[in-house]
Each structure stands twice: as structure tokens, then as C-alpha cells.
Symmetry: D4
Subunit: 172 residues, 8 copies
């Protein structure tokens, strides 16, 4: 198994049902990754030492999913100069607006690259990581171009089906 | 000078114009305190060692003011079992809703005692600290009771003035 | 049975499914408490006399859960110098944003220590109470440190499990 | 001077610049009123005895203006069966959304008749009071009909002016 | 059957499941009322003639429930000098915030007495109507005082039950 | 089959359950239309050439449904001088507020005619298209007037039924 | 002077500073228009008769600007089958979110074509009207195409200037 | 002058006062960049060809600032596999919440790396770009580490100053 280039981390195992879409997408692009739980609030010291050692271990990009007062991405970003991607988890009471504001509104100096709330964001974090790695890895870049083409073809194929069966009989 | 019981901390000196209302109120109650800058994002390690040493140094309560993706209170709370009071700073783009959600929506296990957004909250954090310290310090408790009476009298005095001069001539 | 140190109060029995997480957490820390219903709007006089007698009865901390135009915590805070912790209930139409604003945005002079919306907040209110009581009770403080360790270990254990079974087979 | 039928009350003299629009409108309708400060949080007992004595003193309607965690209208409503009109004050950090939610989202059983945020709401509270009093006082009802006509005529007169001078030269 | 004093109106029969709580509460207070559908948008002329004839027909108070861009209460208020109570319906996409803003934010001159979003607001509209009618009808006023007492007793009875069975066995 | 006058387009087949209400309403008015999928993000070039060719193909009005960061309507509007109607899709995390802001807040110069969030908006987009086409097609205009009458009659018929069966037995 | 094709209407002369951008843009496109004040709330009957006579008078499109509980566009739309464009005015307390929700969230059956909040929306309403009129008036359509080109050229010219002077010396 | 690695683009010259903080920060890190105006709505074809040629011209990262219905970042992201960073501009009516939702809520497949609203976000976009480029350029990585140290030292120096002069005399 290859050395991981991306580290996927989340605060709680209740985030896994959303964050698994990130892991699946990384696999799709053939990007070696590690996936673990670490919490800015429940394992602060482990989170800190984890963040400080990322670079040494050859990790290139961190993807952090957290919900509510979602500090994980910011805490990691404060301790590394690697790009950190934050995924705001959909939450029960505020639907993820709390997660979004807690992740995106970082102060000047410590950016977090924030993506869509929830599952779609988890997948998009992986694609964003692929875009970054694709800057120096032509294989990943090619896969991204193929993925884009696949997206395009998917819409076209569905459009054809819609034309054929009509909107009343179209099955999603 | 007495050993500080309360530590007032904020992420940036741009927060001081709001947080000074906290310091003034602590002085009003005669509570010895320290006040400093430490940032969850710009000085993460200092913030962590600061949080871990609070208890040893005899600090009883932490008051943390931060704005935007406001992680300071939560980061400190993760590293101490002292009560942590969070003050959401009023911000330029989102008026402090971002700060509020980032501070109050902590996950189960790591509470932050959140108060009003902005100046009023900074003062209230100090009063809340006085209420906590007042549980074992009868002098502070008495001062709190006097302060409440002063608030009551202030409203009554203003009501009398309003009655006397009428609403058209009342000067705030 | 020991004399209660904490009073848990809520406006309606429809809040109990959320507030029971507070009671359970207080039991976990071995903190004697009382739990009752009293409403700022439906039993205003009882709420007032309740608030005024808290201190005499030896109560140290009040935890008040309310939803919507949630006035209970503020009303109690206006009549006592004990620390008052407010828990914003998740609500049907506005998901608890109404409760949150009604509890946290107290005017200068009368703080309410506000925690997370809903169940997590109910539990956090109890932990915050433990942190306050832990300032003078070394047993509670020790339990808090153990609880933090338990949280940390819980995340680590789950991280190990994730490593072992992989994200595809992990069962929450 | 006539016995007041309406009581206008607000939590703080900082609310007066908004609430004076209420007093002016009551004067316009010739409705005798009293105006005072009383605070749900700073003068809770005075607010309670005030609320309980309203009916005895011949007051028919209460208009309560408050901001932030605005409990005044709800606290009064809990202690009287008179109609209570709540005016949400415009606030510094949340622009009055906090006041609005704290006033309007009352639980089943204790209504508050909530009006527009800010100055316009203060004036509307007075008009709503006039509408209620107009149910048994034909003079007030006639004044209301004249006021409506005046509003209508005002718009028509402005429309004529706009037609005459054109939108480029119209001065508000 | 008595001549109706209150008119309950709503824009659509999909509002009836919420607005029936208004009708039930009016019945509880023995207030004769009529209930009908009329829409500011689908039956504008009927709504207008309805609004203009309310006073002649002896109606004293209008209660209007509407959702989304909820114009019904405002449209009626523009054509009568009777007090108009607006009930913001809970909606599918925006949960009733749209209804609330559309009803409460009326311009200076044309107030709508706005109550809680949804079912609770429907019931509260009826109680507010009772409070207004109670100003000249001592029977309704007495019923309101009994209702308040019933609310108080209800909470007390539940508090006793909670004390007896404990929070773990309490059944709502 | 007639040449389409209206083009109904949406970003994804997951939007079809909402957008079909648009197609049904266009059929109701007898307006020939085409319906297809094209995505501002997944098929950008197809979307662009589609937008640029609309006018040539005789299309008069575009109806675009999209959700989240909903760029489809704006992208089409940037490439045509035909009127573009945008339908904000209801979304999972933010309920369609994200879609609404992304569609309605267009910069000066490039309008999008935005309608209600979700199903109701999809139907309304079709009616708005009918209103526009009705400016030169008297048949469509007549159908609109009949449709309005039908709406009016529908409410009146329901009001009669409510009167007859009473609110307790009314079945929606 | 030509017979007006577009009617620009607003609820209050305080809206004129925003709505004049609509008038200016209509002049730019050479579209004859009338502009007036009429209020859904202060002149409801005039607004209704105005709405009902629009079609007879040869008006093709209505542009209605209103703020707060902004019912004007909806009220007009309920009484005409002409396309109605709604412009949400920026407001003091809620910045126009109240206006936006009150205008855009119309029920199924009565659409309002909603544009951007404030000045930009006022201008966009005029452009949207031009797009609709352009469907049968080739001159207006050509002007729209020129306007689009002008927008494009404006950006290109500014981009050239930026390239020449550099971002540090660029004057807006 | 070196070939640009980063392309900074914004929709309008009114965005430059916020986006210049991005340019300054890129200069600080010695990263060659180009800066230009291109609009998703006013120059859609130029924006598209610009996006499609980025990779060929050796650009590695795009930073796009836009406000309101902010489609620029998404439109570029749809046409390139380079990482796209979106900066939500602070806006007049909705303070940038509209920009934020329009940029961050991208559908699955087309990520945009979103940063803080306004000036701070513009600077953070540049730092994020530096973090990405630092993955293969050790000089940039070192500069990032120095920058972080400078941030840390800045806070420490201010903390010392605060300690020395006291909070009452501290000048920001």
C-alpha cells in the first residue's frame, strides 16, 4: 500500500456517514489517503501533534470534516503550512450553517479552503485535493479531465433519456 | 497586587475595544485578573500551554473573546476543566452571528458559557465570573447584590426623571 | 439523599426529552440536584419566588431550559446572583435559533451562561455546572479530568477501530 | 389630565428614541397614556407589581418596547389578561431579529401582539391600541378612519407631485 | 347561534390544520366566531369586500392566517380600522420565517398584531382576541383569568408528578 | 407537435420532481415547450451554446431550475437577451435559501426573474411565462383569465364546503 | 409623448431613491413608461383599481417596488394577468430580506418576477421589462444586444486600464 | 518579470478595494501573478475562454472574487481542473451571505475552495495559494513558515505591550 498523500480526519464517528463520500472519491482518483478520527475538543493534544507531524510524514493535504462549533480544520491549519480543506457537516439544529461559519470565517493569516455543506462537500473536498495534487501529477490531472467528461456525459445521457421517455415517465 | 483569579484573553488587539468592558467590570467587582492576547490560530501552541497551565497558576475562570470563526474559547475549554466563558465579538461582515455560532455550538462534552455579542457580553462575562466566584466569596456576592440594587435604582431614577420632564424633553 | 446543589428547571414537560441529558450528566458527576417545571409565562409568580429562594435553600447553580421566546433563564437571572446556565431548546419552526437569541442576547448587567442548542447543550450545562462546582470540590474536579480522559480515549479507541476495520465496514 | 388608558413601557432609556414615536401617535389620537421605564431584568419585581396592578388602575392596553433578549412584553403578558403589544427594538449586533424572535415566539397560552421592528413598530403599536380602544369608543374609531384617509390622501398628493415635477426633480 | 364577534380567515385549506387551534380556543372562551377561506392573491376582490364589510356586520376582530408571501392580514388591515391579528403559517421551505416577515414588518400606519409561528400562534391569536374582547366583557375576562390559573395549575401538577415519579419515569 | 416557445432547463435530474410542476402548468396553458437537463457546472459549454442558440431556434422564454450555488439561470441570462426565469430548488442543508440568493442577487445589467422556492415556484414560472406570452397571444391571455377565475372559484367552493361541514369535519 | 408600456409603481416616496434607477434604465432603452406612488396598505382601493385598469390602458408590464412587508407586487399580481416584476427595497432593520421574502414567496398561481434587492434590482427590473418587450419589438431587442456589448466592453476597457496602471494605482 | 502562477480575477472594479489584499499578499510571498477583471455575467464568453486557457498558459491556481449572485468562481471551476479559490465579496444589502452561499454551495463534482468573506478572505486566498504552491516549491514553504512565525511573534509582542502599558492605555 502506498504512502498516504491526503489525510482525511473528522471529529466524531457520527461524521463518517457524510465523510465516507470523501474517501470514496479519493479512491476513485487513486489517491492514497489515511482516514482517522481526531477531535479539536476531545483530543486536543493528539490533534495538535497530528497537525504538526503531517508534513514530516509526507502528507500533502488535510481534509477535515466537523460540525457545529467546528474548530478542527482551523486548529489544524494553525499548526501546519499544508493546505487544509474544511467540510462543514450538516447538523441537527442549525443544518450546517453553524459548521459553515465556524470553518469559513477564519481570520487573516490562517485560511481554510471550505467546501459545500454535507455529503456533496465531502466528495468535493476529495476532488479539490485531486486538483491540487494534479498540479504536479499528470495522471491525477488526466483522471480529473476524464471525471469532468464523465460528468458532462452523464448529464447528456440523462438529457437524451428525458427526451426519449418524456418528463412524465422519467425515473431518476 | 493580588494573584489573578480570572484570566481575560482575546485573539487580537482589535478585540480590545469590546473586551475592555470586561476588564472594567472585573475591576468594579474588585476581582484580580490578568488580561492578554493569545490566538487559537496565530499562536496555537502558546494558547495550548496557556490553557494547560491556568489551573496550576491559580486561575479559576477564563474569559475568552474572539470573532468570526471564533475558536479561542473552545480550544481553551478543550484543555482545562475550569469554566470557560466565551464572548462573541461583533464582526464586520456577519455582525457576530459567525462568532456566536462558533462559540456556542460546542459538542457534547466541552461546554463554553456563551454570553451576549459584543460590549454588553464582555461586561456580562465579568459579572458571570463574579457570580461564580461569589459562590465561595461572600464579599463578591454582596457586591453583586449591591450592583443589582444599583441597576434597579438606576432604572427607577430614570423613570422618575421621565415622569418629571416628560418624554419630549428627556435627555439620555 | 443529599441536599441539591444544582437546580434544573424547564418551562414545559415537552422539554424533558432534551433536558434529561442534563440530569443524566449531573448524576454521572455525582452532583445532587433537583429537577422541576416552572414557566416564566405560565407560572410567573412561582418562577419568581423560586428564583428568589434558590440561594437560601443552598442551591449554587441554576440550569434553565426553554424554547421559543425563551425567557425562563433571564427571568431567574434577574432575581438571583447565582450563576444561571441557559439551554436553548430545539424548536419546531425555527429550530432553536429563536430560543438561542432569547437566551444569549441578555442586556448588560444580567448574564446568562448559554450553551449549545438542544440535547448536547443540556449535557454541556451539567458539565459546566460541574466545572463551577469543581472550583471548590476536588472530587468533582477529578471526575471532570477523568471524564475528559474518557472522551479522549473514546475517540482514540474509535480511531483504532476505524484503522482496523476500514471506513467501509465501520459501524457507528 | 385624563386617567391613562394605555401604558407605554420600555426597558431602558436607550429605547426612548424609538418608542417616542409611540407616544406621539397616542397623542395624535388623543388617547391618555402613561410612559415609563421598567425592566424585566433590572427591575424584575417592580415590573411584576406594575404588571399585576395595571388592570386595577384602569389601564386597558400595555405597549412594551424592548431589545435583544427582549423579555419585557412576555413577562408583563404572563401577569395580566390585558392585551400586551410588543415592539421589537432595532439592536446593534443583530438589527432587531433577536428582539423580534424574543417577543413574537411566545408559547401557547400567553400571546404578545407583536408589531414591526423599530420606530415604525412603535407608531404602529399606538395605532393598534387605538383600533382596540376604537371598538368601544366611537371618537377614536372616527379618528382612525380620518387617519386612514389622511394616509391615502398623502400618497395621492405625492403621486400628483411626482406626475407634475417628474421623478428627476422630485424632492422627498 | 350568536352573531360572530371574531372572524377567522385563512388563505388556503392547507392552513386549516394549523388554524383549527384558533377555532378551538375561541370555542373554549365561548366567543362566537365565523371561519372561512379567502385569499389575498386568489380572491383579491372578495377579500377586499370582506374586509370592508367586517365592521358593518358587527365583527370586532379579524384573525388572519397565511403562509409564504403572506399578504392576507396586511391586505385586510389596509381596509378596516378593526384590530387585525396575523398568524404566520409554518411553511415547507423557509419554516415560516417568510410568513413572519411578510406579516410583522408592516409600514408605519397599518399595524398587524403578529403572534407566534404555527399552531401555537393560532391558539394565541384566539387568546389575544379574548383579551381584547375581555376589555368590555367581564365574562370573557373572568374566563381568561381562569384559563391563566389552569395553565399555572397544569404546570404545578406536572411538577408534582415529576417529583413523584422522577425524571426517568415521567411520561409526557 | 408545435415548435417550442419556452425552454425548461434544470441542472440535474434530481430537480425533476420539483420542475415537473412547471411542465404540467405549461401543458395546462397549451404552451409548446421543450424540457432538458443542462448544467452550468457539469456541462458548461453545452449550457453556453444552448443559451446562445435559444433565440435563433425561436424560443421566447427560458425557465431554469437549479439548487445550491445555483448558477444556471444567471449563466444563461448572461448569453441571451430573452427573459430568463429562475426557480430556486429546495435543498437539503439550507432549504433553498442558498438557491434563492444565488439566483435573485444578480448584478446590475443581467436580471433573472426569480420565483418562489420549490414546487410552487416551478408552477409559477410557467404562469409567468404564460403572462409574458399572453402579451401577444390573446388565447393564452384568455386562458390566464380563466385560470384566475378557477383559482377564485376554487377558494369560494372550499369556503362553502367549510361553512357547510364546519371546521371540525372539513377534509382537505 | 408616447403611451406608456410599462408602469413603475412604488409604495412610498422614500423608495424613489432606489426606484429612480429603474426609470433611468427604461429611458435608456427608450421604453415609454409612467411612474407613480400607490400603496397596498395606504391606498388599497386605488391600488386595486389601478391594477385592474392596467391592461385596458395598454400597459404591458408592471414594475412594483416595495419594502418590509412588501405586498404591493403581490396585490397587483392578484388583479391582473400582466407580468408583474417585484423589486425588494433595501430596508433599515432587516436590509431587505423582509422585502425579498414578502415578494418572492408567492403562492402557486400568482407569480411575481422578483429581482435583486435595492438599486441594482430597480435597474434590472427595467432590463427584464425590455427583454419581455423585446420579444415583439426588434428595436428594443437590438438595444439590449448593444447594452450587453457595452457591458462587455466596459469590463474589457477596465481590464486594460488595470493592466496598464497596475492594481496599486487603479482608480475606480 | 516572471510568468504568472496565480491568476487573480474579479467580476467588477468595485471589488478591487477588497481584492487588492490578495495581490499584496501574493507579492509578499513573491508569487508571480496576473490580475484582471472578467465577469461571469457581463463577459461570459471571455470568462469561458479565459478559464479554458488557464492551464495552457501555465497558471496553476485561480483566485476569483465576486459578490451577490457570485457565479465567477463556479463558472471558472466548471471549465478547468486547476484548483479555484473563491472569495465572497462583502455586499451592501446582505453583507456577503449571498456571495458566500453562491460560492461555497457548489454541487458534487465541481468544488470551489471558499475563504472568509471580504478583505480577510482576499488575503487568505493568497496564503492558501502559497500553501498549494509550497507543496512543490520549498522557498514558498519556508516563507509560509516565516509568515506563521511573524504572526505568532506579532501576537506575542502585542501581549507584552499590553502587559506593560495596561489595557487602559493600549493603543491599537
Amino acid at each position: 500500500m502506498k504512502k498516504p498523500l491526503v489525510s482525511v480526519v473528522m471529529g466524531s464517528d457520527s461524521d463518517l456517514s457524510q465523510m465516507k463520500h470523501c474517501a470514496e472519491m479519493l479512491e476513485y482518483f487513486g489517491i492514497p489517503f489515511e482516514i482517522t478520527f481526531t477531535s479539536a475538543h476531545r483530543t486536543p493534544e493528539k490533534a495538535a501533534s497530528y497537525a504538526k507531524n503531517l508534513s514530516k510524514r509526507g502528507i500533502q493535504i488535510v481534509i477535515a470534516g466537523a460540525g457545529g462549533a467546528a474548530h478542527l480544520a482551523g486548529v489544524i491549519a494553525s499548526l501546519t503550512v499544508l493546505p487544509v480543506i474544511g467540510v462543514p457537516m450538516k447538523t441537527k439544529s442549525l443544518s450546517g450553517v453553524d459548521s459553515l461559519y465556524s470553518i469559513v470565517q477564519m481570520p487573516k493569516g490562517i485560511p481554510v479552503a471550505t467546501v459545500t455543506i454535507g455529503e456533496a462537500g465531502a466528495a468535493n473536498a476529495a476532488i479539490l485535493a485531486a486538483e491540487i495534487l494534479g498540479l504536479k501529477n499528470i495522471n491525477i490531472k488526466k483522471k480529473l479531465m476524464l471525471y469532468k467528461k464523465k460528468l458532462t456525459n452523464g448529464v447528456s445521457r440523462k438529457a437524451l433519456k428525458l427526451k426519449k421517455v418524456g418528463y412524465k415517465h422519467y425515473q431518476v
